[in-house]
Assembly symmetry: C2
Homo-oligomer: 452 residues x 2
Amino acid sequence: MATNHQETTRILRRLLSSGMTVRAERLLGRMRPADRGPVLSALTPPEIRTVVDLLFEGHRAASTLIELPPELLPQVFDALGDERLAQIISRLELDDMVEFVEWLDPERRDPIVSLLPEGAREELRKAELYPPDSAGRVMTTRFVALDKNMTAEEAIERIRATGADDDEAILYLYVIDDKSRLLGVVPLRRLVAASPERRCAEMMVTEPVSVPATADQEEVAQLVGRYNLLAIPVVDDEQRILGVITVDDVIEVINEEATEDMYLMAGLSDEDRVFSPAHHAIRKRLPWMLINLGATFLAAWVVGLFERTLEQIVALAFFMPVVAGMGGNGGIQSLTVITRAIALGELEFSSALRAITKEVSVAVVIGLVTGAISGVLAYLWQGSPYLGAVLFVTMMATMAVAGVLGAAVPLTLKALGQDPAVGSGVFVTTLTDIFGFAAFLGLGTMMLDRLT
Amino acid sequence: MATNHQETTRILRRLLSSGMTVRAERLLGRMRPADRGPVLSALTPPEIRTVVDLLFEGHRAASTLIELPPELLPQVFDALGDERLAQIISRLELDDMVEFVEWLDPERRDPIVSLLPEGAREELRKAELYPPDSAGRVMTTRFVALDKNMTAEEAIERIRATGADDDEAILYLYVIDDKSRLLGVVPLRRLVAASPERRCAEMMVTEPVSVPATADQEEVAQLVGRYNLLAIPVVDDEQRILGVITVDDVIEVINEEATEDMYLMAGLSDEDRVFSPAHHAIRKRLPWMLINLGATFLAAWVVGLFERTLEQIVALAFFMPVVAGMGGNGGIQSLTVITRAIALGELEFSSALRAITKEVSVAVVIGLVTGAISGVLAYLWQGSPYLGAVLFVTMMATMAVAGVLGAAVPLTLKALGQDPAVGSGVFVTTLTDIFGFAAFLGLGTMMLDRLT
């Protein structure tokens, strides 16, 4: 079903280089907007400029650019002049407008925004009053509001009059009172099936699920998912409807948030995607890797404290990878379970203690089993039952600590108002490693007489 | 907006224990189906039975249970008898029916299925012919098909006649020819805005995006996301429409697949959720932890090969956490970027080499910088420039290997038809560790004269 993007890019390139712009335009016109994105992003800057000009004339530039993965936007923006960009941005819906302006080179922002029509500038200013990643920034302000006394027939007339036959925001009609306060929602399908003289107030779903404009987009996505909505109204403190967030934007949010969680755990930045330029990826990853380097040197220093012990029983060094590898993996497991539960809205603070207790009990049992096996293997390999015992006790304790940290770190970050995933992978594995090494070599030191 | 589930559970419990079933029923009736799920899952088995009976009488049991997180289903199923369960299952739509039967205790499956009405049994048998997690298993068979000569007015009449005013599957109407082959799609909003005598063939979107019934659900989710669809038709080899997958199911699939990827990387099983019973989690995690244990012992064995070297320069052991920690983290970064790009459909095999090359170049540069810093720190700490040089070379090489593995392991798994994330975290970190230790201690052995 999906278009072969590589093949299309090749054909388009040939048409452009031989000046066959009419055929190029026709080829682009036949494609779905979402298929033009990947093709566009594979072109050189001058090619991008030509293609965007062609699309712009056919009123297709805006609808194409909103389909691009956002991290490719800077590359396309760089190829376009300020005026062309302002023209395109002014044709976007508010939510896309906000996103585009966010991705503009900071230096070009003000000049381009000043080229927008007054109305768009005003809307943009208002949207930017909401916090980043909040409902107010993701919503569209295009929706159809109905009076509660309107009949089904009148409502349908109203929809026809707006000419919004391709507008996703009209899957629900919003019934409001004379102060714009949201009273209820009429699903379009119910309106269609209703007899013409039925009144909106009779058809509407009352107490509709809504979100405040300041709500985090992740919370919006959870509500839409939980209640199987196609769109969710955004309201102010007085329950007046401000805008609507549609399910296609919610899908983007869900994908973004999942990427963010996986990325943050690994110390990656959002903008570091598979085909981001290498120098960009290096700049983004280096700070976290330097933090990680500091953490590993801390672990090295802890090991260094036990130089005397290691000199006498060098075999202890063999088992350091076992302690670190098992503890780290156990910690990441708990971390993943808890982070994911927070992201999906399955875990609230009230049940945090229950979650931590569970993770720790799981970790202790796994520590018991794997610790016992390790102890026996160490005994068989090195011939010292005491070494086996030290490894067994260390592994059990380290796994328990890993369970506590894996569960408590994301919950603590969340309680501090941070993203629960931010750098948690590094925290958990490093702290686990340090504890594990200290316990193992510390016990080894205490048992030095038996071990030598 | 969301209900306070703990508070509601407490009230419901009190009503049940004092036999006030009418009030309990009223309380349940006022709740949204999605809010009944969390409440239900917090009850004891006898309470669950009573509540399901109450809901069943109000025709609300099926709509409530489909809102439960699937991993909680077994717990609820255990509390119900075969007949009650069969009654509930027979009221579900096909996709939910398939899911419920999959979650049944294997021993109860056949008895319960045999209690279903013949029609449902037949549909179930057909759906189970499709591979697990395929479009054919996720689709609903309820949709409205129209003849291409039908007018807008007739189409609306048709929708009214089906009485499907709350059915999400009618956001699009499907235009078919006399052999049931899909010709086009009419969005409901377009139908509403159209003049009554307009024909379906004139209104429909031609060449609609569709998926074969055997397509993987992840691919379905990518298409729905890319083309901003509200539903996608499922077709057979002859383009005949078999069913429809709606966007609410797609959101579930996206969440499931994101969970799966994060879980698989950490060696976790899908069913191991935050409030799964501890013994369940232990049983699921232990096998992977044992594999991980084997891997760490392999690393230990490699370190053991260098016993003589370590005996002479015990300081080498101090830097093992640095080599392993940095290599592991670098590998996980590349792994995360590549796995996520595969999941979002941003990476195809044709560009695999480009992706690997980029990851390796990023890794080499980061290895150069962090290796240089580590080398200097090691020199300052231990006073040996040779030790610094050994660490520098090791880190650069290890980071490069980590980049290669992080990028290549998920792509290889995908090429082998496996999930690209399965156990990849363990593979990558273990292989990186082993390489890093071997390189570091190997180089140390070669430089032994200079180091002592």
